[in-house]
């Protein structure tokens, strides 16, 4: 009897202890902060493992924070974020890029970040990394990584065309001569790969070419679409299309496999091209550097320029866990692990900070391609006319570029129709 009573007592004690432990567990789970992170990195096969590892590492280092990754495709994310911000349920943190960043900044739904950025971090940011990310002086997005475009040249194709493979064209005239030599010696090679689709990204990509001719059709210091510089750019585009130097209508991504197969001589593309081509061709680093080089855009009447295709991180002002959200943003941007596993590892881009604090990472950033981007190309970064009118301008300008490249309308008429289509 006593034994049975003591057994009952023991069971009751264990039950109460278990209940108490459970309650404690529940309370501790309730104290955990959950961050929502809208991003396209988790939506793409190449970058998904890298971002998942970065999130897992962050959660391990911050056991009080859970990150829920919301995978949204790159082409959809701006629309979804604007709609969610308008309906009052935005994520805590979001990945964003290009004009979409400016659009979100324009809504006023983003948390100004200056108060979160320490002096040390501000000093460690690369010069110009936060360009275009301020509205009325306030930083509305934090630069996660940098991915400017460079002028990639295939040394083997140049050599076969009788060109010096170590002297890529520096001017538009030199480029024209090189394109002619390549076309005549290797008719099956696409001499120059540029994106001539009608979308906002295509204007970003073509903007430096326009600047190369001194054309500024829209934005600060605009001289309009009917300027002689813009007409010179459109005329040049028509001439190279007629000569068969470009393959119109392809997205830049569609040229990458062709470049990996050695069928493209010059390609105007972002730093990530190296990773994509190596992934497609299985080429080693040494072979890649022997075959491909990258430099600044050939210049015409203007200066060489490039555009920033890197990604930013934003925090919404209606979020409830801003400190945790900032901790996550700072981790993704500055943690050597996140830089190694995601930024360089799978995203093939450059970190936005000068010093990573990791010798092996700094060595990885000293390779020829990254060095060319850091030392030569990034200093030519030029601002783009981002804002609410950019998409409308992109439609008008790229429709005109497409007409110049594929149509028969006179350049004067095309310039006029672009001008009429630009937002007033």
């Amino acid at each position: 009897m006593i034994r049975s009573q003591s057994r009952g007592l023991a069971l009751a004690t264990i039950s109460i202890a278990a209940l108490a432990a459970g309650m404690t567990g529940t309370a501790s789970a309730g104290d955990k902060i959950t961050l929502t992170f809208a991003n396209w990195a988790a939506a793409e096969g190449t970058t998904r493992p890298g971002i998942e590892k970065a999130i897992a590492d962050f959660e391990a280092a911050n056991p009080d924070i859970d990150v829920v990754s919301e995978a949204i495709s790159f082409s959809e994310i701006a629309r979804q974020l604007v709609l969610r911000a308008r309906s009052g349920n935005p994520p805590d943190v979001a990945q964003i890029a290009g004009n979409d960043t400016a659009l979100l900044g324009f809504t006023g739904a983003l948390e100004p970040l200056d108060g979160y950025v320490s002096k040390e971090l501000a000093a460690n940011l690369k010069q110009g990394a936060d360009a275009g990310l301020r509205k009325d002086g306030a930083l509305f997005a934090f630069p996660w990584n940098q991915s400017p475009a460079g002028f990639w040249y295939n040394k083997d194709i140049m050599q076969k065309a009788g060109l010096d493979p170590n002297k890529p064209p520096r001017t538009i005239d030199e480029l024209d001569a090189a394109l002619a030599a390549i076309k005549s010696s290797q008719p099956n090679v696409i001499p120059l790969a540029i994106d001539t689709t009608n979308r906002a990204f295509a204007l970003s990509s073509n903007w430096p070419w326009m600047q190369s001719f001194g054309a500024v059709p829209v934005g600060n210091g605009a001289t309009g679409a009917e300027s002689k510089e813009m007409k010179a750019y459109l005329t040049w585009m028509r001439e190279i299309a007629k000569a068969g130097y470009i393959d119109p209508g392809r997205k830049i991504g569609e040229f990458r496999p062709l470049a990996a197969q050695g069928n493209v001589a010059f390609i105007w593309d972002q730093v990530l091209l190296k990773g994509v081509m190596q992934g497609a061709s299985g080429m080693s680093d040494d072979d890649f550097y022997k075959t491909w080089g990258v430099t600044t855009l050939p210049a015409g009447a203007g200066k060489p320029a490039t555009f920033e295709g890197g990604h930013q991180l934003v925090m919404f002002s209606s979020g409830k866990n801003k400190q945790a959200a900032w901790k996550f943003i700072e981790y993704l941007t500055t943690s050597p692990d996140a830089i190694a596993n995601y930024t360089i590892g799978v995203n093939s881009s450059l970190p936005s900070i000068k010093e990573t604090g990791d010798a092996s990472l700094d060595a990885a950033l000293g390779t020829p391609v990254f060095k060319a981007f850091s030392d030569e190309i990034i200093p030519t970064l030029a601002p783009q006319p981002y804002g609410p009118d950019f998409a409308a301008a992109a439609t008008a300008i790229m429709a005109g570029v497409q007409e110049a490249v594929t149509g028969t309308q006179s350049i004067d008429d095309i310039a006029l129709s672009i001008q009429q289509g630009l937002p007033q």
């Binding site: 629309r79 604007v82 709609l83 308008r86 659009l103 324009f106 809504t107 006023g108 739904a109 696409i190 689709t197 009608n198 979308r199 906002a200 393959d247 119109p248 209508g249 392809r250 062709l258 609410p388 998409a391 409308a392 439609t395 790229m398 429709a399 005109g400 497409q402 007409e403 490249v405 594929t406 149509g407 028969t408 009429q420 289509g421």
Partner: protein, 305 residues
């Protein structure tokens, strides 16, 4: 007399059976329709008279008919409208003709042979539209596309044709893809309609020594008129709203040469976030489709009388 009486009884019978409370049973359907169809339409009309940009978080301003006035002077709207008409009526007309021809050609085939041919002819209809678009996009590639490769190797052309990169031939090229995908629909429907023609009618025509063309023109086509009208109305509405194929193949380019109303509305609403202006285009678009459907239905009713 008894016959008349019985027919009036038959006609009166449904009236006697009618129960007024049954009318209320339609109410849930009406409520659902009002929510899922009525509300979006009314809200679109409301948005069309407002300066409503999704990026601007301040309340939208009422601007009356300003969006409609802007529309009247918008060359891209008019170009898109013309492209929509060419794309829709061109695709539907040619698909219907091809579908009819195929239905007539295969009409007398029987057994396993017919089943195999019909299955083959119906295959394009089973392919998702986006897949059709990408299939043709890659076949049309100026460099590396199979169509140019075949034409070049056969010596038919000297230089690759810029199928989707020429402002002149891009729209017909997209229409070919659309016709390829849509023809089986007409073939299926018209084959069924052909098999429903009473044998007595066909036999009588044969007895009267009607030739093949006479049979088609005077006997079969009149029987196919209603199915053709209904199916082409459905396809006109479907093609008027066709976004996937055009967006995947050309995104409305080069220039605005393949931009249709649906592509233009998409750009306005989801690239520029100009919901007010996009709604005005949407309202005009809706009115056009309703007018077209009304004319069509009226023609059908007159024919039935």
């Amino acid at each position: 007399m008894p016959t008349q009486a019985s027919s009036s009884q038959v006609r009166a019978a449904p009236r006697r059976r009618r129960e007024p409370w049954l009318d209320w049973m339609v109410l849930p359907t009406l409520v659902i329709m009002a929510v899922v169809v009525g509300y979006p339409i009314v809200y679109t009309v409301v948005l069309s008279v407002e300066d409503y940009n999704l990026l601007d978080f301040t309340p939208a301003d009422y601007i009356g008919a300003a969006n409609y006035a802007k529309l009247a002077g918008d060359p891209i709207f008019w170009a898109s409208l013309v492209n929509t008409a060419i794309y829709t009526f061109g695709s539907v007309g040619l698909s219907a003709l091809l579908g009819l021809a195929l239905a007539l050609l295969t009409e007398n085939l029987g057994g396993a042979r017919f089943r195999a041919i019909r299955a083959l002819l119906l295959t394009p209809w089973a392919v998702p539209f986006v897949v059709v678009a990408f299939l043709f996009r890659y076949m049309y590639l100026q460099n590396g596309g199979i169509i140019n490769a075949v034409l070049l190797s056969a010596g038919i052309i000297d230089a690759p044709i810029p199928w989707l990169n020429s402002a002149v031939i891009a729209l017909p090229a997209v229409m070919i893809a659309n016709i390829w995908a849509m023809t089986p629909f007409f073939f299926l429907l018209l084959s069924a309609a052909l098999s429903a023609i009473p044998n007595e009618v066909l036999e009588s025509a044969r007895v009267d020594r009607a030739g093949t063309w006479g049979m088609i023109w005077h006997i079969k086509l009149p029987f196919l008129r209603n199915p053709l009208l209904i199916s082409s109305l459905l396809m006109v509405i479907s093609n008027f709203n066709d976004f996937a194929k055009i967006w995947a193949m050309t995104q409305g380019g080069p220039g605005y040469s393949t931009s249709t109303l649906v592509v233009y509305v998409y750009r306005l609403a989801f690239e520029r976030f100009e919901f007010g202006y996009a709604s005005a285009v949407g309202v005009i678009w809706l009115i056009m489709l309703m007018v077209f459907a009304w004319i069509y239905m009226r023609a059908l009713r007159m024919e039935n009388r």
